[in-house]
């Protein structure tokens, strides 16, 4: 307990750093994956190739990647940018496939009718395709979020600040409480991030949060029949 109190400042500070370092790959990966996923869905021919290449990225083991990136990027060994770039690559690897599925999930009739009433391609993307791909995109970014937050701990092995530090340090000192702090902290960040994402989803996609109740639909149908009779 006294260890907790004595190190509270450091625990909070490292937790915040962990949250920040994982937020960057989640957001950047999402933004990069969307146009790639859109293209993969739009151009069926390229789809297989794009998804295969992106899928291979995910197969690169994380530790060698962390270690190799400094020489590839010209960064210093301990630069957190290495880990952030590596995690962004994983985020893209997961997110591109989901984004492609998300755009494929948009009903073709809705797209056709949007075109028919005069949406330009650009406008249709922003006001029809992207919002309607939203629910599947959201499920994808939630997976990315959890995986990024937990993978970031591995960065501590190469000396980048993250909650993984407590984990490693606790192991070396055979100090269970410190290990638990590392684990619980990671879980807390993951849960809060997931809650924030689903809250954002509900605010941004109100049509989705309220699927029509069976009763409402039946009542509406009954009313039309009565009107028609």
């Amino acid at each position: 307990m006294s260890w907790l109190l004595g190190n509270a400042d450091q625990i909070v500070q490292i937790t915040l750093v962990h949250a920040w370092y994982s937020a960057l790959p989640i957001v950047i990966g999402f933004v990069i994956a969307i146009p790639i996923g859109w293209l993969a869905n739009r151009y069926r021919v390229g789809r297989g190739t794009i998804l295969a290449v992106v899928g291979l990225l995910y197969a690169v083991p994380s530790l060698p990647l962390f270690v190799a990136l400094p020489s590839l990027l010209g960064t210093r060994i301990l630069d957190p940018a290495n880990v952030i770039v590596a995690l962004t690559i994983y985020a893209i690897a997961i997110m591109v496939r989901t984004a492609s599925d998300a755009f494929a999930s948009v009903e073709i009739d809705v797209l056709l009718s949007a075109t028919a009433v005069g949406f330009s391609t650009w406008r249709r993307f922003w006001s029809v395709e992207l919002p309607l791909a939203g629910p599947v995109l959201l499920s994808g970014i939630r997976v990315v979020s959890v995986s990024t937050i937990s993978l970031l701990s591995v960065g501590s092995v190469i000396g980048v600040t993250s909650l993984g530090y407590f984990f490693l340090d606790g192991f070396q000192r055979a100090f269970a409480l410190e290990i638990i702090v590392g684990i619980v902290g990671t879980i807390v960040i993951a849960v809060i991030s997931d809650l924030l994402l689903s809250l954002a989803g509900r605010l941004l996609m109100p049509w989705n949060a309220r699927p029509p109740s069976r009763r409402a639909v039946r009542r509406a149908e009954a009313r039309t029949l009565v009107e028609a009779a």
């Binding site: 809705v110 056709l112 028919a116 330009s120 029809v128 049509w207 699927p211 039309t224 028609a228």
Partner: protein, 303 residues
């Protein structure tokens, strides 16, 4: 007036959906394209707003070749209603109706105010304005689709099997409403259906297709029923059977019209009684005989 001149559409995969098609679609009338599935109706309809461009031939609207008109702008000036309404599921009813005016730069607030008026026009309760399409019945969604099609007060309204997915009772109601609307609004309507009853009910001019966008016959409902061009058309319109094969029987010295099953369908009255024009209506029990509607312009008829 919309004019097709020797229009052919061959898709990249080699399918010839429309072959050497020519037709004059007169203004302010309902022209119905009818034929079985795959006969090229949708392709023809989509060529009018350049969703599909012809492989050869030209299409003119009021004398202008539409190949020279920028597609997005062209589409914003033409109403389009499709099966399952094609509404934007993430927009509320009022916003769906306001879609095209907003695309054309009308302020959202003004467009929504106008959307409420259009809801009255198509017989939708204004209380539905804030619902999402999934919270409406099929018939209500279809009305929203029609309201959206009318939102920019277009001269031309394209309707692709708009009532195909609703149950028969609601369909009959929507058909009557369309005829009522058309009496007030006088649009140039191009209506696609595979239902010959619907075609005969709604069409001032009917174009019957075999496959591949080949016209089997074009004309008014009366012309087609009176003189089917061939065996195919006769069978398609059912002129030889059921409720459309009517004949006269004497009953106590008075003529009664009966169908092929011998069921009484009505009586014959003199032509000046006001019912004359739509002898081919086929639904004498339906109280909406559109007796007041003008005949299609003779010179604008099908080729």
């Amino acid at each position: 007036m919309i004019e097709f001149r020797s229009v052919t559409k061959r898709f990249p995969d080699g399918t010839v959906a429309v072959r050497d098609f020519s037709l004059v679609i007169p203004s302010r009338r309902i022209t119905v394209l009818v034929g079985s599935s795959g006969s090229g109706k949708t392709t023809i309809l989509r060529m009018i707003n350049r969703m599909v461009d012809p492989t050869s031939g030209t299409i003119e609207i009021d004398g202008d070749d539409i190949a020279g008109i920028e597609p997005v702008g062209l589409r914003r000036g033409i109403g389009y209603v499709m099966q399952n309404a094609g509404l934007l599921p993430h927009r509320r009813v009022a916003d769906n109706i306001a879609t095209v005016p907003v695309l054309r730069g009308v302020r959202r607030k003004d467009a929504r105010a106008r959307a409420l008026e259009l809801m009255d026009t198509v017989g939708l309760d204004r209380s539905l304005a804030e619902r999402y399409p999934s919270q409406l019945s099929g018939g209500q969604q279809q009305r929203v689709g029609v309201a959206r099609g009318l939102a920019v007060d277009p001269n031309i309204l394209l309707m692709d099997e708009p009532f195909g997915a609703v149950d028969p009772l609601v369909r009959a109601e929507l058909q009557r409403e369309l005829l009522r609307l058309q009496r007030d609004l006088d649009k140039t309507v191009v209506f696609v259906t595979h239902d010959i009853d619907e075609a005969l009910l709604l069409g001032d001019q009917i174009v019957i297709f075999t496959t591949g966008g080949i016209v089997a016959q074009a004309g008014t409902p009366q012309e087609i029923l009176a003189a089917p061009a061939d065996e195919f058309v006769a069978r398609f319109v059912g002129a030889d059977r059921g409720k459309r094969a009517l004949h006269v029987r004497e009953q106590n010295g008075r003529p009664v019209v009966v169908d092929s099953e011998g069921r009484a369908a009505g009586v014959l009255v003199p032509d000046d009684a006001g019912l004359g024009a739509r002898a081919g209506d086929g639904s004498p029990a339906d109280g909406s005989a559109p007796g007041g509607r003008p005949e299609p312009a003779r010179d604008g008829g099908a080729r």
